[in-house]
Point group: C2
Chain length 303, copies 2
Amino acid sequence: MAVSTKSDRITGILAPVLTPFDRKLASDSKRFVAFCRVLRQLDIGLAPFGTTSEGNSLEAGEKLALLDALAADGTDMGRVMPGTGTCSIIETARLSAHAVKLGCGGVLMLPPFYYKGVSDDGLFRAFSEVIQRVGSKALRVYLYHFPRQSQVPLSLALIERLLKAYPGTVAGIKDSSGELANMQAMIKAFPGFDVFTGTEAVMLDVLKAGGAGCISANANVNGAAMVELFRNWREPGAAGLQEALTAFRVATQDFPLIAALKALVARASGDQTWRLTRPPLLDLSLEAEDQLVKRLDKAGFKV
Amino acid sequence: MAVSTKSDRITGILAPVLTPFDRKLASDSKRFVAFCRVLRQLDIGLAPFGTTSEGNSLEAGEKLALLDALAADGTDMGRVMPGTGTCSIIETARLSAHAVKLGCGGVLMLPPFYYKGVSDDGLFRAFSEVIQRVGSKALRVYLYHFPRQSQVPLSLALIERLLKAYPGTVAGIKDSSGELANMQAMIKAFPGFDVFTGTEAVMLDVLKAGGAGCISANANVNGAAMVELFRNWREPGAAGLQEALTAFRVATQDFPLIAALKALVARASGDQTWRLTRPPLLDLSLEAEDQLVKRLDKAGFKV
């Protein structure tokens, strides 16, 4: 299994699930649940409300409703890691508590990201308050390190402090810095701390170093190939699988990623409403879609 | 009047009202309303849920409740400009519609600030969606330009486009860039567009250029002096009043501002719970408070 049970922890490939909107830009739980089913059938875990999910473009009530819909569909919630980190520790605690109540295997937690230049003491206090407010041993926090987007990096010193204060609860991290050295350093420094790379471009290296898996935007459309590498990274063909993942990523990287992925899902499903993004993002232009498809085609990917 | 009626528009001095928390870090509407009364008695307008208010550390429900409490207290809501800009256009529209319903004179709107490097097209679309969703001629939007904090600057080209699309609705801006030249450029380029400086350090220059007023953190503790300058900026003593405002600002600028202001309010009111901030901020240390008081004392301000 790509998303396997190792001492009850989530590992493997997870998709920061794209959020489908209707023509009025309301989040559409029916298409969301259907898309999650497709991903789960490919053995891809679910990390809804991430950056790629336009998670921060959703209000709290929408996230609660989408998560409820997923649970109501009979989803194995142990393989679900919703993004719950917002600017407000109160909202973050509320979302996280709901995730725990629904049996989610973990929550992916951005630090509060409005104030910039905050101290490790302040960030420690933020995560502490949320963990204490949730107040459940079932809570598993995966820190979300995405300095380029959040502008609030999570230092190794902060992680060490959190691990000491909340062992078992602070379970791992999604590192979207793209810096392999940072991921390797965390794996080495913190045994038992599950490091997920936010880019599949370094997935093989991260797995070799002892990483837990990969949570990457492209898992929404190229997840099966990622699962393949996760299952076979010790095999002779692993380097070739990694090369193919990287080639796919290179083919998409010059396009606005979220809009591009939505356009690809629209194309694959025949449902053009999948193209819709919420502002401040823009839907992919049809011209850009043509270019994207050509680029992927040239790289050997039929979409 | 410092906060006067000029063709029904808010002008003058507004305080981004500090948000009082109780010992459990819950927002405290009773102390909030009481503090707002004090400000209003000094003829200071109210801009709750701004950066200084830890507005983004509050969840939507808290903002709605605090605003309701203010209205229930009989506040002249025409002098209230709550911050309603969040990462989600849905939440921003909800908060803005509620503000309109309560008769607020305007709303102060950050752009969605999670995604970085977004286009003017995307930002235009974001503000457009919110304005259309609120769908009220009573809505007055004051854009909130704070590039250092939000990391999403608002360009003059974007403002021009918004003004053309929504004349009367897009009413002005709070410019927290600190760049006098940017404020002067907007005043010159957009007649009838009300420019508020986010720092009192350039207040006299902004008023001379035709600006509408000042919305600054320090208005929470030094607002009366700002009102004094706003009332008398054409008088011979104006330069001296500006110097005093700047001196106060200089005396506070080496301290974490929100925590420092809360400590000063705690000191003035004798209510030490005013010192409490929400993570990721930290309360001011007592040592820092001592230094701050000494610095202010040396600059001639008794606190």
